[in-house]
């Protein structure tokens, strides 16, 4: 589909956007930052002939904080130029197993709000993805809100990725985690891995193995091995399955090693500090 024959709907409110979705359904694709859809148009692989331009929908751009959770509307992620365009809703909707906002959302037990004319539902992040580029979103639904749990002050957190370039590279392997330490003992670990399975996964065995154990090099080795075993990687242009399994061990080991050595990033004041 060349750009010349694409029809673009540009609603000015959420209600109008949902109405258009209800009418056009499978024929229309929502576009937010455009960082994925515009490349599909250029490559001639966009299936839909119509686009729902969300740029002028004011209700989709906010970050709200409540006592128990932080609500993030469809906002930004990704290199400086891409960060200024891309949105978190788009990263979820496009459902790449290598989407970099997704592992942190697994760690934060995010829920995704899907809204349509006359109704809405909230889906836990680990039930949202069905496979590469596939989600539970129905054609008449729009991603309108992402809710994440607040991290407790003192919680360590990390996001490590391996790519060919510091910016813009599609992840070969990524890992996000949060960890609470009490006097050197792990109270809990949450660990999510990206680009190593059809969807992002939580490494539950690794998380269980860490609970109530002292954070030592032996434990880190065990966690990293269990994380590596939890992967179901493919071989593609960016790396072989075997490389991805080994690299998973490496990124998890490195992230936890920094925390053990007191060089990890910590949550202060109830929100993330650092970068």
């Amino acid at each position: 589909m060349s750009y010349e024959s694409i029809i673009v709907y540009s609603p000015r409110s959420l209600a109008e956007a949902l109405d258009i979705l209800a009418q056009r359904r499978e024929q229309i694709r929502p576009i937010a930052g455009g960082t994925d859809v515009m490349v599909m148009i250029k490559d001639g692989v966009l299936k839909e002939k119509e686009l729902l331009n969300l740029s002028y929908v004011p209700e989709l751009s906010y970050i709200k904080e409540s006592d128990s959770s932080i609500l993030i509307a469809v906002r930004q992620i990704g290199s400086p130029q891409i960060q200024n365009l891309g949105t978190i809703g788009g990263n979820l909707g496009t459902a790449s197993p290598a989407g970099d906002s997704i592992p942190p959302l697994y760690v934060l037990n995010a829920t995704v709000k899907l809204q349509k004319v006359g109704g809405s539902r909230e889906v836990p992040i680990d039930k949202f993805f069905l496979g590469p580029r596939k989600t539970v979103r129905e054609p008449d639904e729009l991603i309108t809100e992402i809710k994440i749990e607040k991290m407790e002050p003192g919680t360590y957190y990390f996001f490590q990725k391996l790519g060919l370039r510091s910016a813009n590279a599609i992840s070969i392997v990524s890992a996000a985690g949060s960890l609470l330490l009490q006097e050197g003992t792990v109270k809990y670990l949450r660990l999510a891995l990206g680009a190593v399975a059809p969807t992002v996964i939580r490494a539950k065995d690794a998380e269980d193995a860490a609970k109530d154990q002292p954070l030592t090099e032996q434990l880190i080795d065990r966690i990293a091995r269990l994380a590596s075993e939890a992967t179901r990687p493919i071989t593609d242009i960016r790396g072989t399955a075997e490389y991805r399994r080994k690299a998973t061990y490496g990124v998890v080991y490195e992230a936890l090693y920094y925390i053990m050595k007191g060089m990890g990033k910590k949550v202060e004041y109830g929100v993330e500090s650092g970068s």
Binding site: L85, S166, N168
Partner: protein
């Protein structure tokens, strides 16, 4: 089907009629004659088409013309003030921060976007600020020293 979109290009209101999914990059070059904005990969990877959208650096190949109604778009053509070059442009010339020059407008606009948000970046923040741009001649060291020079002078 074509649509009519009105936005501000380098401070002046312009109105264009184009297919709604046409990229801002292609509209700038083909309909408005703004040729500092370079097509490279047209997939958001190389940064050659970087412009400022309401003051922030973005790759214009990834923006539909349908998305810029009422927005402020700045390109390298809009950097001069009363005939004088922008300090970033001056520094690129003084440092010889280019070889073939194809990537240069994109790097300059990325630097402009960075300094708009953070007038006093660290060396690391400078590298991060231009990490979305590629120079295949490998002029990176001089590009970085040009931006450092501007930061040191504190003129942007």
């Amino acid at each position: 089907m074509e649509i009519t979109v009105s936005f501000f290009l380098n401070g002046k209101r312009v109105t264009v009629t184009a297919p709604p999914a046409k990229s801002l990059l292609r509209v700038l070059r083909e309909d408005l004659g703004v040729t500092s904005v370079k097509p490279g990969c047209e997939a958001g990877e190389c940064g050659a088409c970087t412009v400022l959208l309401d003051g922030q650096a973005v790759t214009s190949c990834l923006i539909m013309i349908s998305q810029v109604e009422g927005k402020q778009i700045t390109t390298a053509e809009g950097l001069e003030r009363n005939g004088a070059l922008d300090p970033i442009q001056e520094a690129f010339i003084e440092e010889g921060a280019l070889q073939c020059g194809y990537c240069t407008p994109g790097f300059i606009m990325a630097a402009k976007g960075l300094l708009n948000e953070n007038p006093n970046p660290t060396d690391e923040e400078i590298l991060e600020g231009i990490s979305g741009n590629i120079c295949r001649c490998g002029a990176y060291p001089r590009i970085v020293s040009a931006i450092k020079k501007v930061v040191k002078k504190g003129v942007v």
